[in-house]
């Protein structure tokens, strides 16, 4: 990637074609629907190409397709707000290996009738490019309004070239990346930064009536190998937390059998091993701690810990189950909480959760957010 290539892309993608909002919704929904068909070639390519850079298993990629494109319905896309003074040229910086936010963000850029320069993530160069290619077959004019490019973040000159002339900048990433792009963005451009976040779940004492709660909880914790910002680190349980942990463990194993965890980096595997070792040693002589884990390579771990304080997980399907005490300490995480899953879906827990997070949803729906 060079500055000239970015400038050529900008020159090529300059004017948004005439489209009504409903026509854009229709094109995007139609494209998304095609991805959901089992024989779809884009889907097949993603399942073949994405495991490498994302680190997810092919089955996880298939699950990601179902979640990401399943969410792009006519109804959901129709609800994306379009401001009256929407920007005409957007530069988007995507991050991480979870495809949903980036695909949703590209859809929003098109619904705003903007020309989009998208810097995709090193962790997922596959989905944004394939999505735009698949859109081309449905509406080439729309596809022409998205240039998907990649360059290393250290190449700040290229980032500056991509930012030049943007009247909106959308950045996903950690606080440092967001600050760095913000510093380089043109002053008049609107800036939207989406930082990394944590999520957790609350299980009330009446949750027994909630369907197959362990399976729903295991789904929320296992999808994207727990690396998404909507992936719960902790399940806080109001009644018997240890008993819930004991039922969550086989549910984690069942999900693993269907959708295996991806390959971990050495640092990730080592971190998970140390957490597991620590709690396993404690659990041997401390009744307030218990550990369940799968056979090597330990694809999931459930840790019951009677200490009610929030514990950030090392991720990759290592989930904590703790008693639900006062959540006052969660105030320390204000602004860093994405989603709180609750079960049962009643007013009491929803109001507790609503004070802590921007999004509250039933357990089992944590990985199914609105499009943007």
């Amino acid at each position: 990637m060079s500055r000239a290539a970015i400038q050529a892309a900008l020159a090529r993608h300059r004017i948004f074609p005439h489209r009504t909002t409903s026509a854009i919704v229709e094109a995007l929904a139609e494209t998304a629907k095609q991805w959901l068909a089992s024989g779809n070639p884009w889907r097949a390519r993603a399942i073949a190409e994405a495991p490498g850079p994302t680190g997810f298993s092919p089955a996880m990629i298939a699950e990601a397709i179902t979640l990401t494109f399943g969410a792009l319905t006519r109804a959901a896309l129709g609800k994306v707000p379009v401001p009256t003074d929407a920007p005409r040229r957007i530069t988007q910086v995507l991050s991480g290996n979870v495809p949903a936010p980036g695909i949703g963000s590209i859809c929003r850029g098109l619904l705003w009738q903007a020309v989009n320069v998208v810097k995709c993530s090193r962790r997922d160069p596959v989905f944004p490019a394939l999505f735009v290619e698949s859109l081309r077959a449905v509406d080439a004019g729309l596809a022409d309004c998205v240039a998907v490019l990649h360059w290393p973040r250290e190449e700040t000159g290229l980032t500056q070239a991509a930012l030049a002339g943007a009247d909106a900048v959308i950045v996903y990433g950690d606080d440092d990346s967001i600050a760095s792009v913000r510093a380089q963005a043109p002053a008049p451009a609107k800036f939207f930064g989406y930082g990394h976040k944590i999520s957790f779940a609350l299980i009330g004492r009446d949750a027994g009536r909630t369907g197959d709660l362990p399976a729903l909880a295991a789904f929320d914790a296992s999808v994207y190998d727990q690396q998404g910002c909507m992936s719960p680190h902790v399940f806080f349980v109001e009644s018997d937390a240890r008993e819930f942990a004991a039922t969550l463990a086989p549910a984690m194993a069942a999900y693993e059998a269907r959708v295996p965890r991806g390959k971990l980096t050495l640092a990730e595997a080592a971190e998970a091993a140390l957490v597991r070792n620590d709690y396993e040693f404690r659990s041997a002589s401390d009744r307030r701690v218990a550990v369940w884990t799968g056979p090597p390579p330990y694809p999931w771990t459930v840790i019951y810990d009677a200490t009610p304080a929030f514990a950030p997980s090392c991720l990759n399907r290592t989930v904590f189950v703790k008693p639900l005490g006062t959540l006052a300490a969660m105030q320390a995480w204000a602004g860093k909480v994405s989603t709180v899953g609750v079960a049962p879906w009643d007013a009491r827990l929803r109001s507790v959760a609503g004070q802590l997070a921007e999004r509250v949803c039933p357990i089992g729906q944590m990985q199914r957010p609105p499009v943007v």
């Binding site: 962790r123 690396q227 992936s231 950030p312 991720l315």
Partner: protein, 340 residues
């Protein structure tokens, strides 16, 4: 020793029993995670009778790990011999080191060397829970001085002493943490010494946020540039509160700078593949696990939180602490939250 510790340490016994795996070879001895030293008394004797307890500095959590000793005889013997073999090369080590009749007390009193020692740590008397301060006191001869008081490195006094050593053509041995040396180099700024030939340094530990981070080549360049100690006279020590044995770069033994570390005969280092929990092949990275026969009173097999690699010649290399696995998705993880 495993049977002894299994019998006398209830927490360890419970941990071994939980695994339900028989121990038939030394490689199968269950490893005590260093984190256990924070939560439990990892000791095979009543800790009320301890003669010493060393504490970790609590780099990752507020709670300190504690290592209790019924006696320090093994600790001191292991420390002296190993230090002498890696730092006193080319020095006439006092014969007491190899004198089997000498008691630990004799050795401690004599010290292994005549090289004056400047230690960039507190003296053991003011830091009784620092394993490093104790170890340096044990390996240094009687001509030694400690340059940390009230958590402060006594830079003026240390600089003055370096001047004296240079003017009197007296080779000297500098021992300390890497971050203390960085503070010294920052203090010296453009000033530089040319310490007499034979001078040497031992540096240990990471930076733990206590000074600016400096790579090992850069640190060694500063040693040479500001003190006149060549890279083949600088030795990295790998040790930890939870162990009784230290590991040193082979540098002075082979006469050139090396990152490979020797394993003394009374210890074994296993590199564990975290995905399987089994030993990794030579050349593969994994978690460092140490079997340390000098850890008689605590845990002979300790699972560290460091990554390393074994070499075919029996040495190993330390590749740093497990921390900061890169976040691949959009969630914050434990490490990224710690940094905030």
């Amino acid at each position: 020793m495993f049977a002894f510790q299994y019998r006398h340490n209830p927490a360890y016994r419970a941990f071994c029993d939980r695994r339900r795996a028989p121990v038939t070879r030394w490689e199968e001895i269950p490893a005590v995670p260093t984190s256990a030293f924070k939560e439990f008394a990892v000791a095979s004797f009543p800790i009320a009778t301890s003669v010493a307890e060393f504490h970790t500095s609590g780099t990752t959590t507020a709670k300190a790990g504690k290592h209790y000793f019924k006696t320090l005889d093994l600790y001191d013997a292991a420390s002296q011999r190993n230090f002498a073999g890696h730092l006193l090369v080319g020095q006439a080590a006092r014969t007491l080191i190899n004198d089997k009749a000498a008691t630990a007390e004799d050795r401690r009193a004599a010290g292994p060397t005549n090289l004056p020692v400047l230690a960039l740590t507190p003296a053991p008397v003011i830091a009784p829970h620092s394993s490093l301060a104790h170890m340096l006191a044990v390996v240094a001869g009687q001509d030694r001085e400690f340059f940390v008081e009230h958590d402060t490195l006594l830079l003026e006094r240390l600089t003055q002493r370096l001047c004296e050593m240079q003017w009197s053509s007296q080779p000297v041995m500098l021992l300390g943490t890497a971050f203390a040396f960085v503070h010294l180099f920052d203090h010296l700024a453009t000033m530089h010494f040319d310490l007499p030939a034979g001078s040497r340094a031992m540096e240990t530990g990471g930076f733990k946020g206590r000074s600016r981070e400096v790579t090992k080549p850069e640190l060694y360049r500063l040693f040479t540039q500001q003190l006149g100690i060549p890279a083949d006279h600088i030795v990295n020590e790998y040790g930890m509160t939870e162990l009784s044995t230290q590991f040193y770069d082979v540098t002075m033994r082979i006469g050139r700078q090396s990152d490979h570390k020797d394993v003394p005969p009374w210890a074994r280092v296993l590199i564990i593949d975290p995905a399987t929990g089994e030993p990794a092949p030579v050349g593969a990275r994994g978690l460092i696990r140490v079997v340390d026969l000098a850890n008689l009173w605590s845990a002979l097999c300790v699972q560290t939180e460091d990554l390393g690699m074994a070499h075919a010649d029996g040495t190993f290399e330390v590749l740093g602490r497990v921390a900061g696995a890169e976040v691949r998705g959009c969630s914050l993880n434990a490490e990224s939250l710690r940094k905030q």
